[in-house]
Symmetry: C2
């Protein structure tokens, strides 16, 4: 599947039904909350330094759910605080929010909630002046240009950058067959060429990302990138990669039961890569437009007892399903999904009973050099 | 129904199915084609005068259909021509297109066609440099602010401004009953208070529209407004109002057959007003930020023989249905719609056999004063 195909086909489940991303993104929300103070402090620092009359803020990979708009509200409040601390005698800046995701994302659902959101904003933010708030959608891949030059002050991206622009072409041999058999991502059984292929694709994509953003951001503009990552150089560990290893095993289980074909599993590869901190830092330095202000490593799921679900495995299964269903359906068909994710939930719980799984999240703060 | 309700509920039929606006807007397309040369010439004139490095262009009431993107392509070509005539030695400007419509509009369908549209653009426009083109959606009512201050160079709006922000409140008596019985708009049977109520609402809305746009446009920025209008001061004529008179009569027909209740017809009122040229000019002068560069009156449907449909009545019925269905369904229920529009198509054909119907379109060109 090439980039154009991905742009059309990859999206979180839309709407607000039982299986939608909107209702199954609580794990993402939890981590975003932990990263929130970094995001808001960075924004306030930027505002203090630049004091623009009109502030452009972009959410890259905004998806479609409650997280999309709740972050906007917090940002408005943070800007108000920074403004009142700095230049309270001047009018509040205009705030433009640019929501970005692939063209297949369900923007309609976000838009339909805007009239209520604006009403709510006016009710909640009533200390004196109310700022002008403009909310727009800029669909497209963030591995290409999205915005005109020097129009953005602040960019945040939550759980999106671990999605590559495409499945690495180097995963396929001359006959077009995947060299990563029995696995959907980097598994313990994968040959080294697989992790090399993924790492190369990450380098190509992340440097495009940085180059495009460097054109779009104003001088001293900031980016806060929240993304899944790895704890160290090893590609296979009990972190994020392990969730995909379990997904591969769940599909293998269905193959064994005759529910799907082995060839289907062999030919399915995800466009996912969790970089290490050193890999992120390496690309930032190589591209050269940004200064790395900070890189924090968070372990999100330390509170496994307090999940709103029958089990932690079920919560993970729902999240993974909301995120991967659009791709899985096209490859395996709709029929196997319920069974697949029941198996998956069970496997996650079984593994957890034996040993912890530690998914890592990075919060990377970058500053556009002057 | 108040403004907030309208923002949620009023929209063209989305998607690209048989009854969608996308496939039933050929009458609008025809008139837009006639207005096209005015639009493109005005844009070129603006470009010549201001020569911005980054050009912001907004489509207010963009709807969701082939017209939305085909206009963008023509605009890009026109800017290239103007650029090459004026400053061909300099790089092409960046072009930002801001698509606006109410939040209930089907933006997803537009977005899904963007990857193909960009590919097509690059294929069709290949004389030398290809400009950077950014396409974004800014949902919201254009009777309020949509864009940050002084960010827009050119605004066009095609067949949207005849939709008022709400049904005029003065149409309802103290008990909340409509004073416009048996009619959905201004009919020959309507008391004078009805046309007064609509005219007042138009004045309020159009002056808000001008005030908001005057903030958003740069100095010398232009607007090309394509809207339905009236030929003279009389509110009832064989023009646009007559199509609504026939819709009222079609509903009455269904009332007579027991398909719906008279009370439902009495309480249904549209948020539509076709102003006269003098009324448009009056508001422009009163608001004061714009100079009226030109106001042309077009009669769109002079070519009634050449309609792609079984009859002209059917073509009109499909167009009116794509535009009004979202509102009619909520009031009358889905059940009556097929019969209603069969009746309507027949009535249009019968009336045409007797005497011409002459719907008027205005193309208004406004220039933001310096």
């Amino acid at each position: 599947m090439d980039t154009k195909d991905l742009e059309r086909k990859f999206h979180m489940i839309g709407g607000d039904g039982e299986k939608s991303y909107a209702r199954n993104s609580s794990l993402q929300k939890k981590a975003s909350d932990m990263a929130k103070h970094i995001t808001l402090e960075t924004l306030q620092q930027l505002y203090k330094e630049t004091r623009p009359k009109s502030l452009g803020i972009a959410d890259l990979g905004c998806s479609s759910g409650p997280n999309t708009l709740s972050t906007i509200k917090e940002i408005i409040k943070a800007v108000e605080v920074a403004h009142n601390n700095e230049i309270s005698n001047q009018p509040l800046p205009e705030l433009s929010f640019f929501l970005n995701d692939l063209p297949g994302n369900d923007f309609n659902t976000i838009f339909k909630s805007l009239p209520d959101f604006h009403t709510e904003l006016k009710r909640d933010i009533n200390d004196g002046d109310f700022p002008s708030v403009f909310i727009a959608a800029y669909p497209g891949s963030f591995y290409g240009r999205i915005f005109p030059e020097k129009t953005i002050h602040f960019i945040y991206s939550s759980y999106s950058l671990h999605w590559l622009s495409k499945v690495p072409p180097a995963l396929y041999d001359k006959e077009g067959k995947s060299i990563n058999k029995g696995c959907v991502s980097i598994c313990s059984s994968s040959p080294e060429a697989v992790s090399n292929a993924y790492y190369s694709q990450f380098k190509e994509d992340f440097s495009s990302f940085l180059r495009c953003r460097s054109k779009e951001l104003v001088a001293a503009g900031r980016m806060v990138l929240i993304t899944l990552g790895r704890e160290g150089p090893a590609h296979v560990d009990r972190g994020n990669s392990f969730f995909w290893e379990l997904l591969s095993r769940s599909i293998m289980d269905l193959v064994a039961q005759g529910e799907t074909e082995e060839e289907k599993l062999d030919s399915y590869d995800m466009h996912f890569y969790a970089p290490s901190a050193a890999e992120v830092e390496g690309e930032v330095n190589k591209e050269g437009s940004f200064e790395l202000e900070s890189l924090e490593m968070l372990e999100v799921d330390d509170d496994k007892e307090n999940v709103d679900d029958t089990s932690y495995g079920n919560a993970v299964a729902k999240t993974v399903r909301a995120v991967q269903e659009s791709m899985l359906v096209q490859h395996f068909g709709e029929k196997i999904l319920d069974k697949l994710f029941d198996t998956y939930a069970r496997m996650v719980d079984e593994e957890l009973a034996e040993e912890d799984i530690r998914p890592i999240t990075f919060v990377v703060v970058l500053r556009r050099k002057l």
